[in-house]
């Protein structure tokens, strides 16, 4: 790779050979210098992207007052005065962390599991089953992809109020199970899988449910991974809808807990950073484990503001 641009034609005399060596060395030096510049820029940018996260984690181990006092200097990145897990214990207590954590896990877990089932079944039917009404449904799904949830929030809130579903977990789960974007994702994926295996199974007498469970769904693992990760990313961070549909702590997910700390001064910044860290860790772990699917999933759709 590195030799592709060096001069390699056969030297005719000794002096020419020396000149060629020098020229090649110069080219190599230039390339090396450009590499150094490139890495320098990349490292500076990496610092820019990582420092707020480092700031949060370090802050979560510092005394409350030092978080702000040190926030303008490099001391912000020194966990001193070190308070151990004090911030964590106090944040967990103050914001009723475990209740919110349980709520977030139930909400996100249900949306991911339920959403994968419901959307993949529908996507599969649209891609593979020649049933009456399919075209109309397809058109509706495609049209609804464009409709942002924000447009539906206010009327949906009234529906929830009428049903007396405010302050419940299912009010935060049911509206996000069936989503046109994921239906379309599964539809396109199933279209791209060759039909032969499914047809062979059908000739052997397998019913549609068996064919879906035993053959089509296992082949669509990448689609399940991408959609599942996106559903988790989106539902774990949701703020708008829980803000509208919950009042007390009972059904409140994690992100709303930050309000608990920001409301009345003095603000305990060590606690806040500890709470933020706790909130971020589950997604970070999922990201580290499923990095490739994560990146691919985000590249194929479009989420997060």
């Amino acid at each position: 790779m590195s030799a592709e641009n060096t001069i390699t034609s056969a030297p005719t005399t000794r002096s020419q050979a020396v000149a060629l060596d020098e020229a090649n060395a110069a080219i190599r030096r230039l390339r090396r210098r450009r590499q150094v510049v490139a890495y320098g820029v990349l490292i500076a940018l990496a610092a820019l992207f990582l420092f707020p996260i480092a700031f949060m984690i370090v802050g979560s181990f510092k005394a409350d007052t030092s978080v702000i006092a040190d926030s303008g200097s490099l001391r912000a990145f020194l966990p001193a005065p070190f308070v151990g897990l004090d911030n964590y214990t106090s944040a967990i207590e103050r914001a009723n962390f475990w209740i919110s954590f349980r709520n977030s896990v139930i909400i996100s877990g249900s949306i991911v599991i339920g959403g994968l089932i419901v959307n993949s079944l529908f996507g599969y039917a649209l891609a593979r089953m020649p049933f009456r009404g399919r075209t109309v449904l397809m058109v509706i799904v495609l049209a609804l992809i464009i409709v942002p949830f924000e447009t539906l929030a206010v009327p949906l809130l009234l529906i929830m109020a009428e049903l007396r579903w405010t302050d419940t977990l299912h009010a935060q789960i049911l509206p996000f199970l069936a989503q046109p974007l994921y239906i379309f994702l599964f539809y396109s994926f199933f279209l791209g899988i060759p039909k032969e295996l499914e047809e062979a199974a059908r000739i052997d007498g397998a019913g549609p449910a068996t064919i879906f469970l035993r053959i089509a769904a296992p082949l669509a693992k990448p689609a399940y991974a991408a959609a599942g990760i996106l559903m988790f990313l989106y539902s774990w961070g949701q703020y708008l809808w829980p803000l509208m549909v919950t009042r007390g702590i009972d059904a409140r997910p994690l992100p709303l807990g930050v309000a608990e700390f920001l409301g009345q001064p003095p603000r305990h910044w060590g606690d806040i950073m500890a709470y933020a860290t706790l909130m971020v860790i589950p997604l970070l772990v999922v990201f580290i484990i499923f990095q490739r699917q994560f990146v691919k999933g985000v590249a194929t759709t479009g989420l997060k503001g």
Partner: protein, 312 residues
């Protein structure tokens, strides 16, 4: 499937019918859960948004709902300066953030697309903020942007101490503070899409351009940009739409949502404020419909631009 049915019962010409109805039955069985959920939680509220926008519906109301025609729209468009303030904040935010963030994302994508070692590591680092919950992003940046915070320490070095605003409390700078936060939080997403696009541009095009004596900048202008035209348009559109959905940061970061002095009030803050805090579902629905129209217009413009290229 159809052929096997015909093979077994060649006599039943119209007899495809029971067969079709079984297909239709399984098709609908597979579709039913999603169709029911979509009807209840997307189609119904969608239609209700239009209906409520023409009434004085309230969240909790002792009085019966009345039909008010286009009165809600009149009130919003002609009598509500806060709506125009919110809309103009969204527009300013878009006009600054969309080109800046897309340009920055393209730069990052080009940097990590170099054939050097360790590029995956940098790609991952630039992507990490995507996984940070927006509420956490907001509280981190409240501290970073405080008058004595790191951002001002940096500003002080760059401007010799001339420029150190109280970002989130100063109406002149609050929206800028939100812009900085938002770009940090989501530029990695645009980078990933553009990186995929860059890798799809055939290397032979660059070789041909180099043979014609094109320098790096000329290669970028005449090979890279045309090669990633449609993904770039997609990124511009989706970033525009996302910037109109701006909510979490402006709700959490200033002392009061949308503050100070409505400097960071957005359409979404307006919608939540109207529909939830004031319980004015009719008015909030009208705002939602206006919001939808804006999103549709942006989407249609993008479709138009992409189609044009297909025609040429």
């Amino acid at each position: 499937m159809m052929t096997s049915a015909a093979g077994q019962r060649p006599s039943s010409n119209a007899g495809g019918r029971p067969r079709i109805s079984r297909d239709t039955l399984t098709g609908w069985l597979f579709s039913a859960p999603a169709v029911i959920l979509i009807s209840a939680f997307i189609v119904l509220p969608f239609l209700l948004a239009f209906y409520f926008s023409l009434t004085n519906e309230r969240l909790i109301s002792p009085r019966p709902t009345e039909w008010v025609g286009l009165r809600n729209y009149e009130r919003i468009l002609f009598e509500d300066p806060r709506f125009w303030k919110a809309l103009s904040n969204n527009v300013i935010f878009s006009l600054v953030v969309v080109p800046l963030q897309t340009g920055f994302a393209l730069l990052l994508a080009i940097l990590v697309n170099q054939k050097l070692k360790g590029m995956v590591v940098f790609r991952t680092i630039f992507f990490v903020p995507i996984t940070v919950v927006m509420a956490a992003v907001a509280v981190i940046w409240i501290v970073l942007l405080n008058p004595q915070g790191l951002i001002n320490a940096l500003m002080s070095i760059l401007t010799f101490g001339q420029f150190q605003p109280d970002w989130l409390a100063d109406p002149a700078w609050a929206l800028v503070a939100i812009m900085i936060t938002s770009i940090w939080a989501s530029v990695g997403f645009q980078m990933i899409i553009l990186l995929a696009a860059l890798q799809d541009v055939p290397e032979t095009l660059y070789e041909a351009a180099r043979l014609d004596g094109a320098n790096n900048w000329q290669q970028f202008l005449h090979v890279t940009l045309p090669g990633i035209r449609n993904p770039l348009l997609f990124v511009l559109t989706i970033t525009t739409i996302l910037s109109f959905r701006l909510f979490d940061q402006v709700w959490i970061m200033p002392d009061r949502p949308g503050g100070p002095l409505d400097a960071t009030r957005t359409l979404m803050v307006d919608i939540v404020d109207t529909g939830l805090n004031r319980g004015a579902v009719g008015l909030g629905s009208a705002l939602s419909v206006i919001f939808l129209v804006i999103v549709l217009v942006v989407t249609l413009i993008q479709r138009r631009l992409i189609k044009q290229e297909g025609d040429v």
